[in-house]
Symmetry: D2
Subunit: 348 residues, 4 copies
């Protein structure tokens, strides 16, 4: 029963309470021979961590990853990789065990378990996602070089990026603290979030992921389609309230004639649909997957928020988390991909 | 590796090609003692099947369910329940193995497996969902009486239901062939779909599910939250391109002050948020879960569609399929619910 | 929760009560492109079925396998393969729901489930193993040609085969109804079993499996070692009370000097131990795996046995069942074998 | 793909190389509210660790368990429990990467993974079992008080305990360093092992487990019978070469009349068989489970052994490991036990 484990052949288990001794990740299913060092984990952890800019929380989490197992002489062993991040900035005195915050997991968790770590949300804290970023960074090392996963802020509040360059990469996304690549819109978002911070207000938004470089054929029918495994991954992140392939809200209003532009017919090019956003029959079609993930406004508002240790909008910091979840899903599908055709099983 | 199996403690395996000998379902994990007969399976199968009205395809699938195992003297045995539906209306002569339909799984499936049943999509056919409806009908028998799952057409094309009664049930939904409970909007949808049928055009839309009567506490942190297990279920259905908790596209634009209306504080009522759409920290909060599922326009358009064996819009017939997937998810969470507190484990 | 499903990447689900409508198997995880027809399933089903000789029960089960899905134009599709065997010879009038047979599952099953199919043991019947033989026959089609799995009667009662030819195959095993390849011992066993039949007595014994032709490297540390997955498979069969790698009862008494004959050292030959019976560190070492499986005396004795529909010893008929379970385990390990080294993942 | 994870609802993941930074365990599936502290883990870790007596290795592993997550204010949270043991005594200079030891995993591991931690066997080391003992100690905290699991040395070399008191407990077992409760036999074993140590010879043997206090009804048909889950657990331990329910080697030679003493018939007592060793139809029958686990002679013999850091026989130290594996299996079955009858599901 995989409450705290994600994935099929590549498996991430996360553990640790936000104000406990440590949090960590076990990644199992990585083949032997993948080069891996703590340095591979740091970049995405840095992109996720609080305190990166004036629009994020002032909490300072160092999040230095400590690899305890599964790597030897710089390469993976094919055994479970355990990575720990020690908790330092705990401040548990801020928390009152009998106070239940609206919009949070306090009440439901209490009713479910009868006993909970009330300090900062325990495992319901966003801090748990640091372990996912570790898992994602390891998964990315397994992906072919031509695969890229790039997320960016498509929308925060009512401000929606219009002008997004086709050749986006993570550096370009990081040019603005909002991670919105439409810099004009980014400026408006930043202004709004600063105002939110002052007022104790919050905002939601949309992260868009672009996944490029996939071959045709990833995804297992019928219950491990690439679209539901991705949606499952995204929706498992706190504050996420929706996940759509392309802009489903808009696409669902279109006529079939307008929407379906692909060519039916004979020959190697036939049957691929540009409107499919990269997935047909649940299987990758070799084109870009466009995935939109929707966030509700951050739950901590008012006086509680003004104390200053909460983001007015988690969308920018959530981007590496979603990229990580996507990387885990894709690396898993690449492993599964080995198993589908008799002629591909070299040793059979 | 659960390609064709759905669920955790309650497990549905579906099998069968659309034009093969039969399709079927194995449901494992149902406790002993649940009353079950083929009559329990018929209503939702009837709601799913083609040929129900002038706006659906003329194919006539009888879909009479045949229970082969797991039931004895009218009650489940706690053993796997196998249910078969024999295929009759096969017409495989319509299909050309070298022709790849756009918007379908033909090409991706061919590239993935190298060998496929090209007759009607094989397992990528919507016909596979009949097995899901069988699973869902069995799962519903396990749910407490106070739980209800009702889906309806929120939108087809650009027509969106505005006026939906709070006390909706399936009979009420079925009063109109479109399954849109706003009858004024329903009439406009019907008109549009009849026009589509004539022109070979198609439409997408949105199914909204209301899940009522849940206790507080369903859903397992962190990777089996009720929200991601539901999204996973919905997105595993063909033609589904998105799933959101409430109207995420709209909610993601709101300010936190407007969105979050719940009361933080002390005592048994505190910490529940009406804006949470029934889920906090991934766990049910005892309120209605509102789930929206987005469909792209049906993929078969133009001359191929006019031949008359395709729905111009699958939204109405998809409703029992989505209800079934939700029932499977919820029955599974009810089983898991038994396992979380030492004091609830009677025999420990 | 895999109560009725066996395996990891290759998964066999069995269903059906012994006196219900049908019993069957779903095999999922078979790659596309494996040639398969009902004729591939018949030989082992014939070797398992009752009524083969005067020393087995007179029940006549035809066991003609009906493939409902997963195969198209003579090859597997990569989708679930469902195979059904219809029940015909039911005679449920023989059974009394309130009578609990010693040595059987009647009482424990009643206490566990509260509701059971008391006719012939339901799913606790040996008849369930027909579905395993179907699974095993499919698994064997996936194995490389050089792999062979041959089981034979090593012992029945106190009669133990001494003289067993090294180049044993299934035809040779089948030369005698007892499946004991030491024909002198076989004759004594037959005589004893005929006496048992007359008296209503029964015997247990030992099946020995020889698995040859494996490469070095099958088996996943630490909880999917080849030795525990094989033992798990064997011990899941009714009436089996033990499973040992080689003759463990004897080996456990030896001195290390006598037992360990292998050469430690340098170079490609070093480190392989003949005394390991084919498994080192849980991983195949390229040599023969010798596996002994112990059966208790058949449970039906006395008057009940004399009615004539019970084997005095199930060892001979159990051989194809154990071979099938071993084939499932090995085919699964062959699939897993693809996933361990980065350099073997062609598409990474 | 659960290479390094054991169990179904209660899941133990072990990680760590024997000469790496640390080894550890994640236990997931423990309900909230179980009292747990490091002190609960120490006793069995102490019983497992080397250097306990003159007949064991002189290596000194402190094995102090460090609980990193899942416990708060002395009770489990229902979240993953991570426990670490730091490695100190590494001495990796003793190991030569190109030298392959016979009887060990060196060669098979090298062939399988291409890259391995050659220092002391990596994860193939017996040291990995410390993590299993942690898991087992946690599992024991979940078991009802009336359940007891006691293992003892039934045999080492050719010396077999004859006189074993019925009311054995762990303290009594520990009265002699050999853990053989027949003290006369124990003395002979000790003498023989001291001679082995001097000569560099080694011995195997048999551990017998007695499991008492189980209710009727544990074990899930057909692939999670209590007998195959126990055998799977035992056979996953290094150096184990067999597992039998009772003395299968002996029982397999008996006549059915002699073996089957239980009463068939009507009424609440009927159908229970004393000869079943506690399991009928794969399900516990409320009587003692007697399980024998066979060990081959320890693999390190000759000069390598005389260097003094190897046990001449691992049987005595393996006892807490086997008890731990059994506890994990049983606690898992107790969780599954909740799910089988509709009337037992309180919230349905």
């Amino acid at each position: 029963m995989d409450r705290n484990t994600f994935g099929n052949l590549l498996r991430l288990t996360t553990f640790g309470e936000s104000h406990g001794r440590a949090l960590g990740a076990i990644v199992d299913g990585v083949p032997a021979g993948v080069e891996l060092s703590p340095d591979d984990l740091v970049p995405q952890l840095m992109r996720r961590r609080p305190g990166q800019s004036k629009i994020t929380t002032a909490r300072d989490e160092k999040d230095a990853p400590d690899i305890l197992s599964g790597v030897f002489e710089g390469k993976t062993l094919g055994t479970p990789i355990c990575v720990i991040i020690w908790n330092k900035d705990q401040r548990s005195r801020d928390y009152d065990p009998k106070f239940f915050r609206a919009g949070h997991a306090d009440r439901t968790w209490e009713e479910k378990f009868g006993h909970r770590d009330y300090r900062g949300g325990g495992r319901a804290s966003g801090r748990e996602t640091a372990a996912r970023v570790i898992g994602g960074a390891i998964a990315e090392k397994m992906l072919p070089d031509e695969v890229s996963i790039v997320g960016f802020t498509r929308q925060i509040g009512e401000h929606r990026a219009q002008d997004v360059p086709e050749d986006l990469d993570r550096d370009r996304v990081d040019q603005h603290a909002t991670r919105c690549p439409d810099l004009e819109v980014a400026a408006r978002i930043e202004e709004e979030l600063l105002a939110c911070k002052e007022q104790g207000d919050s905002r939601g938004g949309i992260v868009e992921l672009w996944i490029d470089g996939l071959p045709i054929g990833l995804g297992e029918p019928v219950f491990r389609k690439i679209k539901n495994t991705l949606a499952n991954a995204m929706m498992s992140v706190g504050a996420v309230v929706g996940c759509t392939l392309g802009d489903a809200a808009e696409d669902s209003t279109k006529s079939g004639f307008d929407f379906h532009a692909g060519k039916s017919g004979y020959g190697p090019e036939a049957g691929i649909s540009p409107s499919a956003n990269g997935i047909q029959g649940g299987i990758s079609n070799g084109q870009r997957i466009r995935l939109l993930t929707y966030f509700k406004p951050a739950s901590t508002v008012g006086e509680m928020s003004k104390k200053g240790r909460h983001d007015p909008c988690i969308v920018p910091r959530a981007i590496p988390v979603l990229e990580s979840m996507a990387a885990l899903v894709l690396a898993d599908h690449f492993l599964e991909f080995q198993l589908n055709r008799l002629q591909d099983l070299d040793r059979f």
